[in-house]
């Protein structure tokens, strides 16, 4: 069981990493933010799986903290871009 | 190779990477980011020391861990102060350069 959970954690982490690698180079900041969001979710899933496998005490609380902050980077990004429309920010997006 | 040694080696590599960034990036915000990478590398070194000090039924030595927690908070407050200084510099100078001669050029221009 332990090996299976660890394997699943590795698989999920690998998957979202592939997405991240492709997108970090990729077309614009909005897609980068989206990829970071996906990696956040994948990271939480991997954390829960690893914690389930190794029985690290209190890992659910770490996951709860990460889940509470899951929207933060994206919200900060959209918020600060909108605050300054005159900066002609975000021209890299298609 | 166990997780602790691996984390220690990653810490060493992160210190190298961060140091390179601090030295080579001209933009202060990038220097700041690199400095934070460097700092987290140092924290990871503390992590391996903590893990190797596992004793008395604890999975890791609590003293280095407490140091790291303090360190993360202090690193954050230093970063926040640096960001505020940087934004102020940009607001006053319309530039974020750290070259001392750049400000002098600017002043000369505005005097003329």
């Amino acid at each position: 069981m332990t090996e299976f959970l660890l394997g699943a954690a590795g698989f999920i982490l690998l998957t979202v990493t592939v997405g991240l690698v492709r997108i970090l180079a990729g077309p614009g900041n909005i897609d980068r933010t989206a990829a970071a969001q996906l990696l956040g979710t994948g990271g939480i899933a991997a954390l829960l799986l690893v914690a389930g496998a190794t029985g690290a005490r209190g890992a659910e609380d770490v996951a709860l903290g990460l889940a509470l902050l899951a929207a933060f980077a994206s919200v900060a990004f959209v918020n600060s871009v909108e605050q300054r429309p005159s900066d002609n920010a975000e021209r890299a997006d298609p | 190779m166990n997780a602790a040694t691996l984390a220690g080696l990653s810490g060493a590599a992160l210190i190298g990477l961060g140091l390179y960034g601090v030295l080579t990036h001209p933009h202060p915000l990038r220097k700041l980011l690199s400095f934070n990478v460097l700092g987290s590398g140092v924290f990871l070194m503390f992590g391996i020391i903590a893990r190797k000090g596992a004793a008395a039924g604890l999975a890791a030595d609590p003293v280095p861990q407490a140091l790291v927690i303090t360190g993360i908070v202090i690193a954050f407050s230093a970063t926040a102060l640096a960001v505020a200084l940087l934004l102020r510099l940009f607001a006053v100078d319309r530039s974020a350069t750290l070259r001392p001669d750049a400000t002098i050029e600017r002043n000369d221009r505005s005097d003329a």
């Binding site: - | 060493a12 934004l87 350069t97």
Partner: protein, 314 residues
């Protein structure tokens, strides 16, 4: 090689790769996105090192709150980047710097590989007063008893940082609402999130502070989550940030260090030394200090993130 080793190695490469991206990225904004992801991955690494307290701190502060700070800074400084492109170093100095950093990293790696195992440890000393203090989490015990002086000074540093940030406001704006001028209040999904998340976040944060005595958690982690909730309300513009002259704000900012210092001084009278806790009564005193430390952290971090006032006091 077992699966867990493969996972650890993969995670290490991932961390290094994202860190490399943060250093090498062309624009500051993409570098910051890399840094946010990097913080999250570091939290995973700390879980693998069985340092859950550190993982929680890294997740809340290293990734979450620092992320908000740096993302808004990167967006506001975007205009300064193009101008500084010509200041980039030539290839030769970069190679010299790279070689230097390689030597530094290699030396540290050699130290890591040469470390005695098991190494020197203070774990038995840190564990020994646990029963006396009525605590189960050795890290909380270290923070609040064994190295209490450091923790108190750290709170002072946080207050000093806030003073430093505020002092960057202009004379005219002194006493105004903290942070940059914002747009109208938003409606829609962001407002919904900012109304729904804080009650849940406050429950989680209080839980983390409360269990911090025995399980991973504590005042820093809980306070950082509370400050994140304050930030989401500010980012959705449901409420304005308070004016920096408000008395309740200032009291909240300094409550942590002041209470800590006062109890430390009381230690002379009651327990025979600075920051000594009275025997048999230590746990309630520690919880009392932690409550005010949480409040202090929760008030300080948002003030540090949103920056000095940008408007005249009304």
């Amino acid at each position: 090689m077992t699966i867990i080793e493969a996972l650890d190695i993969g995670l290490a490469f991932l961390v290094l790769g994202v860190a490399g991206w943060t250093i090498a990225a062309h624009e500051a904004f993409t570098a910051v996105i890399g840094y946010v992801v990097y913080g999250l991955l570091l939290a995973l690494v700390w879980v693998r090192l069985f340092a859950l307290d550190v993982a929680l701190t890294e997740a809340a502060i290293g990734s979450g709150v620092t992320g908000v700070l740096l993302i808004s800074a990167a967006v506001r400084l975007r205009a300064s980047e193009a101008e500084m492109m010509h200041e980039r170093l030539g290839i030769a100095p970069r190679l010299v710097a790279a070689a230097l950093c390689l030597v530094a990293a290699a030396a540290l790696a050699a130290v890591v590989l040469d470390m005695p195992d098991p190494g020197a440890t203070l774990a038995p000393q840190a564990r020994q007063p646990l029963a006396e203090l009525g605590l189960g989490n050795a890290i909380t015990a270290v923070l609040i008893a064994y190295r209490a002086f450091d923790t108190m000074l750290e709170k002072v540093v946080l207050v000093l940082a806030v003073i430093g940030v505020w002092s960057l406001s202009t004379d005219a704006n002194w006493g105004g609402l903290a942070g940059p001028t914002r747009l109208e209040r938003t409606e829609g999904p962001l407002a919904f999130l900012a109304q729904l998340l804080p009650p849940l976040g406050i429950i989680v944060a209080l839980h983390i502070v409360w269990v911090g005595a025995n399980e991973p958690g504590g005042a820093f982690q809980g306070g950082a989550l509370l400050s994140a909730m304050a930030l989401i309300v500010l980012m959705a513009r449901l409420r304005e940030a308070p004016a920096i002259g408000r008395r309740w704000l200032r009291v909240a900012l300094i409550s942590g260090p002041v209470v800590f210092l006062a109890i430390g001084l009381l230690g002379f009278a009651l327990a025979g030394g600075f920051l000594a806790y009275p025997l048999g009564f230590a746990k309630p005193v520690i919880v009392f200090i932690e409550v005010f430390m949480t409040l202090s952290v929760a008030a300080t971090l948002p003030m540090l993130v949103i920056g000095p006032p940008d408007r005249r006091p009304s």
